[in-house]
Amino acid sequence: MQDWLIHPVVQGALLPFLAGLVASALLAPLRLAGLAAVAGFATAVYLVVGFEFSPMTTIRKVMLLGLIAPVLGVAADFAFKPKRAMAPLVAVASGALSVWVFLAVLTQKELADALLIGGGIAAYVAWQVGFTLSLHEDSVRAGAAGLALGMGTGVAAVFAASATLGLYAMALGSASGAFLLVQMLTGRRILAGIAFTLTTGLLAGLLGATTYHLAQLPWYVLAVMAPVPLLARLPIPAKWPVWGQAVALSGATLTVSAVACYLVWLSSRGISE
């Protein structure tokens, strides 16, 4: 049993997928299916290193924010009807928060580099949060974005030498895939809400940025990953069945993720260096 639980595929994909599946199926009637994303992520954290928050390292800050985001999301989903300005505001706040996350790394750099890198990373996190959050009313598009962001960031992180970050991101992608699968099998949409989109957008943004800072992810891979939530907005016929929409949107978003992963692989071979 123990040997089985320490297998990376089980830690980063299989059990997070099951956790996402159970959360999506059981919590959908309560309008809490958006918690599927954090269910998958938390499962991977528990299996890979466990919940420890001292000392508060960069990765632990990401873990903490990944656990806080769905709580805020659920509260927002139940407390008020989101307005148009919500996504940009939360995006800016998330970008600012990313400076706190990477403060220990940024303070070790020259001021000009710290400003450039910190600003770039804040923009990336804000972008991912803002555009993923804007999908909160369409659970199929949100699921397709979460699937591609998680899987793309995860595989890229593994190529960039960090298995821990890779498993965390892949867990997010697996749980998003489970969230999507429940809708495909039942033919009905379930609420993604802010709980799902804030969690996937923030975690994908922060995990990608962490892989850039702490592992060897080339910056341009983040630029390639950026359009994923935009591609999830591709116009598709509304009369298509849910599974058809999910397949089409996931195909589009995963294609971009695959390109990003290919670029990391090329960079690791020294081809673009």
Binding site: V48, G50, A163, V264
Partner: protein, 195 residues
Amino acid sequence: MKQIVAGLAFMLLPSAGVASPESYTFDPRHTFVHFGVDHNDFSTIWGRFDRSSGKFTIDRQAKTGTLEVVVETASVSTGDGVRGDRPRSRDEHLRSPDFFNSAEFPRMLYKASTVKFNGEVPVELQGQLTLLGVSRPVTLAVDRWKCAPHAVTKRMICGGNATGALKRSEYGMKWGIPATGDDVKILVTFEAIKD
């Protein structure tokens, strides 16, 4: 009378020199921190850090001493630094957040202020190792120790080996356990030049 005072002072000087604490700086070309970790229950993989710096003081009469060593974690080398057919080499993986997280924690620090002696020879150091932001006690046994003037430069040099052990999980380095062992053997080989 002046001659007697001068003579007494001359006689006292050597013993005063021995009694005072001596300060040494590690020679980075001859000082390395090595570590050994079990791999899949088959073998022990040894690695080392190529860059370190530090100082120690020793007072053989008072039987006291201090030690401070800074190790640059990005200098880790296990003999597997070439990627070959893989996306990353083992040394690159060791620098990643899975292990030493060198970008966030570029240095680890060992500070000791308690030294046990056997006669005039230090035999054990009790100190704190700070790694990945966590400080925990680590005891090093001094297995080999020699102080003598360098054959060419004539400067006093102390050298030797020290060994110890730790559990990496106690520092939050948990990736890969148990396939890559939790128990880490430490071997420090050092030479230091008197300041």
